[in-house]
């Protein structure tokens, strides 16, 4: 979508700078933008769809993958960090990511506590002169912050203290999420000004959370009994329900990222259907080719890997490009989850790195390819300078990896100093549901 601004027919210039909330006020000053009720209604709907991805979507998806004794702790951690992220977002997150001024790494803090945001202020969309109410943009982006920090938890569940999770969440959002969101989407952001393509947050949400998950689980260490005891998912039915909710919710995430109810949103919607479908089938095909049965968990994993891969490409690819991109990504993620993890022996409990980190990287790089009009993408020209674009995409990916790795390490070590980080081995064996929350998920 950013590329659309850079290459879009005649739209270069004013609209490029009207692209983000950072410039909403400027736009309002020059000519009062039109707020369309259809756009506004769609963006409100999209916002709620993303909330549904978190609770109950991600909570059930992750919860089902955990063991019976940790079901509630997983669901509670997901819900609680999402709620915390919303408060932090109002406190300083929105301003740090999308406030006025600032530099290439973070925005200014002038909008802390949502200072100056009123029902009449607006945020620019990608169409010149068209805006949405700023509160809607604040809410929409708030759900992105909330789901991203919840995603990270997938690697550390079943052993990290609830208190440590909460401390980590505040620090990580501040040090990793808000800066990277600014770098990718802020008008003066580091990656934005380089022309990186990331339609709905493949870098901000998925590479960011995936790499953070890997670093966090490496510092935290493996679960007791990892590799020797059975750690099978306790309910793939729950995971299946969660997968469905994630898929439906992802239309808000991807098509909502168009910020308007228009053709770009429609393209994102199309791709979120077919790219995802291709990846769900591809994962099962990979299982079959590896000599196993096509599994329910494989289908769910493929669906999520496809959703991750299509995120940066949603409005930056044609349907065929999205299908090929997601199909290939599923194979790479399958390898990461079933082979790479066991080769290196890290305990990424629910495979956040393998699916979101690796899938996000495939999506980010692939988007640089499928964007060209010759491959069915929406670029203004048949072949974009693909080498140059891939270089920008690669730079963005690498910078994000390094940035979030450092930010995650700081956040985890501070959480460790404050809370002790890990539950006792007794609590871990008995389960975090009882040990950390005093409840059981199931009382038959």
């Amino acid at each position: 979508m950013i590329r659309k601004l850079l290459y879009g027919g005649g739209a270069l210039g004013a609209s490029m700078f009207a692209a983000t909330a950072a410039f909403a006020q400027d736009a309002a000053a020059t000519a009062a933008p039109t707020v369309d009720k259809g756009d506004t209604a769609w963006m409100m709907t999209s916002t709620l769809l993303v909330l549904m991805m978190i609770v109950p979507g991600l909570a059930l998806f992750y919860g089902g993958l955990a063991r019976t004794k940790n079901m509630l702790s997983v669901m509670t951690q997901v819900g609680a960090v999402a709620a915390l992220a919303m408060l932090v977002w109002v406190g300083w997150g929105y301003s740090e990511a999308f406030g006025d001024g600032g530099n290439a790494l973070i925005a200014g803090f002038g909008k802390a506590l949502l200072a100056g945001v009123t029902p009449t202020t607006t945020s620019a969309t990608f169409t010149k002169g068209v805006a949405i109410p700023e509160y809607v943009f604040v809410c929409f982006q708030m759900t992105f912050a909330a789901i991203t920090v919840a995603l990270v938890l997938g690697s550390v569940v079943e052993r990290m203290k609830f208190s440590a999770v909460m401390v980590f969440a505040v620090l990580w959002l501040t040090l990793a999420y808000f800066p990277i969101a600014h770098m990718v989407w802020g008008g003066n952001g580091l990656f934005f000004t380089k022309g990186a393509l990331d339609f709905a947050g493949g870098t901000v949400v998925h590479i960011n959370s995936g790499v953070a998950a890997l670093v966090a689980c490496l510092i935290l260490g493996k679960r007791i009994g990892y590799g020797s005891e059975i750690m099978a998912p306790h309910s793939l039915a729950m995971t299946g329900i969660g997968t469905g909710l994630l898929w439906v919710g992802w239309f808000g995430f991807n098509a909502g990222s168009a910020l308007e109810a228009n053709g770009s949103a429609a393209l994102a919607m199309m791709n979120t259907f077919v790219g995802t479908a291709a990846a769900g089938l591809a994962w099962m095909l990979a299982e079959k080719l590896a000599g196993h049965k096509p599994s329910a968990l494989g289908f769910c994993s493929g669906i999520v890997a496809g959703l991750v891969a299509v995120t940066p490409a949603a409005g930056n690819s044609g349907p065929l490009g999205a299908i090929v991109l997601c199909f290939l990504t599923a194979f790479v993620c399958y390898f990461a989850v079933t082979k790479l993890k066991h080769m290196f022996g890290y305990d990424d409990a629910l495979d956040t790195f393998g699916v979101h980190g690796v899938g996000g990287m495939c999506g980010a790089m692939g988007t640089g390819v499928v964007y060209s009009a010759a491959l069915g993408g929406p670029a203004g020209e048949s072949w974009i300078g693909m080498g140059a674009q891939l270089l920008v995409q690669g730079e963005t990916v690498l910078t994000t990896i390094v940035w979030t790795a450092v930010a995650t390490a700081i956040s985890i070590y501070v959480a460790k100093a404050v809370t002790g980080l890990r539950v006792t081995s007794d609590v871990e064996r008995e389960g975090l549901d009882l040990g950390e929350h005093g409840e059981r998920a199931y009382n038959y």
């Binding site: 599994s295 968990l297 994993s301 066991h342």
Partner: protein, 112 residues
């Protein structure tokens, strides 16, 4: 009196219960159990993590019967629970020292 413990395949439970009812067995206790014998376990794979389960689910029946009825009970279970394949289970018979009906205090065969 005899105490009979039978381990059978779970899906055979209804057939066995009906057959035993037909020969006059008035009650039994049933529990879901796990165990292993000659039958091999299964392999489950979740995202490349392979778990082989040696313990298979079975159903355990506990029946107290008079000395007269006991041989017939064993025969009935054996016939009804059989599928002619490994994993059909086993039947064990013990001598039973006493039985008491809690409501009335009756003992012996009349308590069964």
């Amino acid at each position: 009196m005899k105490f009979i413990i039978a381990i059978i395949k779970p899906f055979k439970l209804d057939e066995v219960r009906e057959a035993l009812g037909a020969i006059g067995v008035a009650g039994m206790t049933v529990s879901e159990v796990k165990g292993f014998g000659r039958q091999k376990g299964q392999t489950e794979i979740y995202r490349g993590a392979e778990y082989s389960t040696n313990m298979l689910p079975k159903v355990k029946l506990e029946i107290a019967a008079s000395d007269a009825l006991a041989p017939q009970v064993v025969e009935t279970i054996q016939e009804a629970a059989s599928t002619d394949s490994i994993g059909d289970g086993k039947i064990f018979v013990f001598d039973l020292a006493s039985a008491t009906r809690i409501r009335t205090g009756e003992t012996g065969d009349t308590a069964l």
